[in-house]
């Protein structure tokens, strides 16, 4: 019998939606022009790029001229932070981020720390969230930029970016948020949020890989990381990835349609069923991240007394794709920096499992996971020298 396949790693990446793929296809072949060319092929590609930009901008309530396309979410994060640091003329040298950021932010801050900037990494609470008070105490007169992720990729908690951004406004610091996990999944309106820059990535919302975007509020000056032909308002040179931008635009329109259809409610309902089902059926397991201030498709748990890689591989064998923050899955000996920053001990952090749902995930899929997961844990616990009490 064919093993059922249930992909629950949408935080890692999503499949390209059929309609997105269809929209992109012509721009690889017949409509292959360079958007910077003046002839009809070029003009056709330019129209497509403009349309994609409009759609991505409209998803977050931005103007089209405030969207710069990059090669990935990581590239957008790098551009935001380094670009703002290089562009600064005020002499501010203090930069702030959180202890649970994606490495694209974390390592950029560490690197700037070596380049003469004073980098502060804000601690988080037990849910992996940054409290406004913590930022208020850390921010200084010479704080140049603050970057706190909108939602955490590993534990799904959504940060209070409105309050965090407001603090930055008061103190004259720029505020950037990495919204790679939230864009297209939870409503974002930069026209109402005190956010200066915001990172998005197409492949986390049923668009293609290899295309990211940075929202840059009008009036904010960045120094480019990539110099060249002056594309993307001179902020990110390089011939535009026309099919990628078209795909990102189509994915943004799809996200708006899914929202109107009530996908957020549907997915959070089956996510709750999964989360509650796991906690109920697996003894010594608990939710990581905030229970309600959470990405609607995100389920993350720690299963005590066993290690994540074993669970991941046995789930894979049962046709279920999940991920883990254990050391053994990362290639280092350290478990996830996010779970450690939340105050979990190493042994518990090694037992973390993340299951992230998508628009194709059904209630039957959840039932299947709830049937397969507990016996896998049981089997591994029988092998463990640690026994539950």
């Amino acid at each position: 019998m064919e093993v059922r396949k249930v992909y629950l790693d949408h935080s890692a990446t999503t499949p390209v939606a059929e309609e997105v793929f269809g929209a992109m296809a012509p721009y690889f072949t017949e409509a292959m022009g360079n958007p910077n060319s003046l002839h009809q092929w070029g003009r056709e590609a330019r129209r497509a790029v403009d349309e994609g930009r409009e759609s991505v901008a409209s998803l977050i309530g931005a103007g089209a001229a405030e969207i710069v396309f990059t090669g990935s979410g990581s590239a957008a994060d790098n551009l935001a932070i380094k670009g703002a640091a290089y562009a600064d003329k005020s002499g501010r040298k203090h930069i702030i981020t959180s202890a649970v950021e994606h490495h694209a932010i974390m390592d950029t801050f560490k690197w700037l720390g070596k380049m003469g900037y004073d980098a502060t990494f804000l601690p988080v609470d037990e849910f992996g969230m940054v409290s406004p008070d913590v930022l208020r105490n850390a921010i200084r007169d010479d704080t140049l930029i603050v970057s706190v992720m909108h939602a955490n990729n590993e534990v799904g908690s959504i940060n209070p970016i409105e309050e965090l951004g407001a603090i930055c406004r008061e103190r004259g610091a720029l505020f950037h948020t990495d919204a790679v996990q939230t864009a297209g999944h939870v409503p974002i309106d930069v026209s109402k949020l005190p956010v200066d820059m915001l990172t998005m990535s197409a492949h986390k919302m049923y668009g293609p890989k290899g295309i990211g975007a940075l929202y840059i509020r009008r009036g904010i000056k960045l120094v480019p990381i990539v110099h060249g032909g002056g594309q993307e308002y001179g902020i990110r040179s390089g011939t535009e990835n026309t099919p990628g931008i078209v795909g990102f635009g189509a994915a943004a329109r799809l996200a708006e349609r899914l929202r109107e259809e009530g996908e957020e409610e549907r997915i959070s309902r089956i996510r709750d069923k999964l989360l509650d089902g796991i906690i109920e059926r697996i003894p010594d397991s608990f939710v990581t991240g905030h229970r309600t201030k959470r990405l609607p498709f995100h389920c993350s748990v720690c299963v005590k007394l066993i290690e994540g890689e074993g669970m991941l591989l046995r789930m894979d064998y049962a046709g279920i794709g999940v991920s883990s923050g254990s050391a053994c899955t990362s290639g280092s000996l350290e478990p996830s920096h996010v779970l450690l920053a939340m105050g979990l001990d190493h042994a518990t952090a090694h037992g973390s499992v993340r299951l992230t749902l998508g628009k194709g995930t059904t209630e039957e899929d959840i039932d299947y996971v709830l049937e397969k997961f507990p016996p896998i844990v049981e089997t591994l616990r029988k092998m463990s020298p640690y026994k539950g009490g």
Binding site: G310, C328, L333, M383
Partner: protein, 159 residues
């Protein structure tokens, strides 16, 4: 999964041999550290001719750790203590058809667990004070100090 581990490793992980404990074991060895995500415990049942009559393991760890403990127990079963001590981690990994480089420390742990179990057996036999099964940092992974880790991280950032 197929790319990372070969079929034999997967087999020994999915269908591990000799899982469990031995009540009244003649020797018990525990090595590793939950901090690093690997702890192995090996139980020995040894007859009067120092032949390993039975051997079992319990492991907290990744697939490679479980597969190597399973393979190591299978390899030493029926051997004398002297013969068993000659088995190296490379031989265990070799019997499994090889491990990914970053997982080789798991096979070292299996060798160390076996040695610890033998040491415990000898202590019991000689009647000397029985030391508790070792659960401190093992040489293979617990040896990393925070600073060394930071160096590794720094070099990654600089790439």
């Amino acid at each position: 999964m197929q790319q990372m581990y070969n079929e034999k490793v997967i087999d020994y992980f999915m269908n591990p041999r000799n899982v469990g404990g031995i009540p009244d074991a003649d020797g018990v060895g525990e090595v590793g550290n939950p901090r690093c995500g690997d702890v192995m415990k090996i139980y020995l049942d040894v007859d009067e001719n120092e032949v390993i009559r039975d051997v079992k393991f319990e492991t907290f760890g990744c697939a490679a750790a479980i597969a190597t403990s399973s393979m190591a127990t299978e390899m030493v079963k029926g051997l004398t203590i002297e013969q068993a001590l000659k088995i190296t981690n490379r031989e265990v990994a070799g019997e499994l058809g090889g491990l990914p480089p970053e997982k080789l420390h798991c096979s070292l742990l299996a060798e160390e667990a076996l040695r610890a179990a033998v040491a415990n057996y000898r202590e019991r036999k000689s009647g000397s004070a029985i030391s508790p099964p070792c659960s401190v940092n093992c040489g293979s992974c617990g040896g990393f100090e925070a600073e060394e880790r930071f160096v590794a991280e720094t070099s990654r950032v600089a790439e």
